[in-house]
Symmetry: C2
Subunit: 323 residues, 2 copies
DNA sequence: TTATTTGCAAAAACTTTGCAGTTAG
DNA sequence: CTAACTGCAAAGTTTTTGCAAATAA
């Protein structure tokens, strides 16, 4: 009995068939569902073997044809890829971020990852050649840790990319928030002007609240999918980029003391929140609709709200005459 | 009659055969030579067709087997690649820098390029996974300018990668030297201390001489291979990296005037030369032995010599009591 | 002499095509 | 009812393997 999870995908596929004047069949649905419930990089034979467990009658050719349909640009549920072993493989594409692969040439395991820095470089190069890119691929071949140490490759667990991406997005947001918290703590400690000090002190519990929210989201996710903490990193981010957003207190430092009045402190805090918001918004734009993208968008919005809140506070202070 | 150019490669291959206890045959030599004299990404059929022009008797299987030998790690003359069209292809590897591809999905033209920035990112990611990399591949698929505008794809010229790399390496070195020249000119203009001014002024003709040397090397190269200026960029470098090596004069600036005594000026000039030398040396290390690598090494050495020269001058000044 | 090569043919592996019967719209 | 789909078989591709004759060391 097909259809249960994957409602979105199946509906999307049916729409695609209707648009194309193609017919909806039991076989296509079965193949689609089998494909969706299996994470990884599947060859036609892989899918065929799985499908056959449920229906002996289905032929390889049908699997082939269906997978090719799924990989059509207008359908966009699967992506046809090559991993260097001469086989055509298919991987999930619908609401999965565009990613790269690290491939073990011994056990043929493929680790997926994304790295926005790579994409940036590629965009620059493409532009120089006046190329209209359709897709790109970064593949690294080598020997994985397990194979090198001859450990038994029992761990054939296939994780759900969407969840891993969400995990990494949460970790990245947390990393940013922790940096902010550190910054505010230091700023509160070192600022001598009482107004400025108060501004920073007030930020601390707010950041802490935000951090605990993110942490509980992460916990939820981990509980939803046990073993998720074991899955390899999917999203690689440059911590330097986060660091660069933190304002440089040392510019206002004299003998370990920071001189900022409340107005300057508010400006600095707003600036930090705004650049975080903009960074995560720009980051989110890189991805197709996924949990990870939504986490980034969410984070960006929260930071923006925080900005507004600080601005309001500032205005009300000015109105009430408090410098 | 084989053997004429490619002496190095053929000798390397024969050594490989001896080490492996394999036999040297007329067919292998012919296939190797045909492969070497043809730039590009050749399928077995491609090479077979070319080889057959010279000897009708040779079979495809021999071509297959020989190309596989050439692509063996211990031989390292060819590299087995996939360009997404389902064919196994072979490209030059011996003394060719490791590169990536931009592939037109319409005319199947593949542009090669290298980009050290990409390699840096990949190294970082690899390290996180404790992977022992053997090779990596960055492929971008899309539609090229010519195909998009439906221009006739007559330009099927295959350039010699080694020469293109050399061209780009020279251009990169020139770019660096021009920046240095600009810096010295500005420094000479703005420095008020006569000693410091003189140091910078003295650098100008030296830089100019170096630039004209590099330019004449570039001209030689261009004359050697006509149409080389038309070949697409192979080496992509981050101009920002070069820029960051130039010292920041503004730190010593007051009202458009720079205050540096001769000692400080010498230090600054030495610093600039040294960082350029180190940068290019580090850069050169990334590549296998090629003309391009040698250009970088050469450049690094020259800059180092320049450093020494400046240091000597400084010492002789100090000895002669001139501040 | 002897182990490797060659080139043919045949097989294997992967993918596409043709076709008659079946089925969704 | 008709156009699309399925599953089989058959054919096309690309790559690998087996083997007898040829050949380099």
């Amino acid at each position: 009995m097909p259809v249960k999870k994957f409602g979105k995908e199946i509906e999307h596929f049916h729409n695609f068939l209707r648009r194309k004047g193609k017919k909806k069949t039991y076989q296509k649905d079965l193949i689609l569902e089998t494909f969706l419930k299996t994470e990884g990089h599947l060859s036609v034979e892989d899918v065929y073997a799985l499908v056959k467990k449920r229906d002996k009658k289905i032929g390889v050719v049908t699997v082939f044809r269906t997978l090719l349909s799924l990989a059509e640009e207008e359908c966009g549920i699967a992506r046809k890829i090559t991993l260097g072993d001469g086989l055509t493989r298919f991987e999930h594409r619908y609401q999965h971020p565009y990613h790269h692969h690290i491939i073990c040439t011994k056990c043929h395991k493929a680790i997926e990852f994304i790295c926005p820095g790579l994409d940036t470089i590629q965009d620059e190069i493409i532009q120089k050649y006046d190329f209209t890119p359709s897709y790109h691929r970064f593949q690294t071949y080598g020997i994985c840790e397990e194979c090198r140490e001859n450990r038994h490759v029992s761990d054939n667990t296939n994780y759900d990319t969407e969840k891993i991406f969400a995990r990494d997005a949460l970790k990245m947001a947390l990393s940013m928030e922790n940096r902010c918290l550190e910054f505010f703590k230091k700023a509160a400690r070192c600022t001598v002007d009482p107004g400025g000090k108060k501004v920073f002190e007030r930020m601390i519990p707010e950041e802490e609240k935000h951090i605990s929210e993110l942490n509980s989201k992460l916990d939820d996710l981990m509980q939803q999918e046990k073993g998720l903490d074991q899955a390899p990193i999917f999203l690689h981010f440059d911590t330097g980029e986060l660091e660069r957003m933190i304002p440089d207190l040392s510019k206002h430092e004299t003998r370990g003391e920071v001189n900022l009045d409340s107005k300057a402190a508010i400006e600095m805090a707003t600036q930090l929140n705004r650049s975080a918001s903009e960074f995560f918004k720009k980051y989110a734009e890189k991805f197709t609709d996924t949990l990870g993208k939504r986490i980034f968008m969410n984070f960006a919005v929260q930071e923006e709200n925080h900005c507004d809140l600080i601005r309001q506070r500032m205005e009300s202070r000015q109105l009430s005459g408090v410098q």
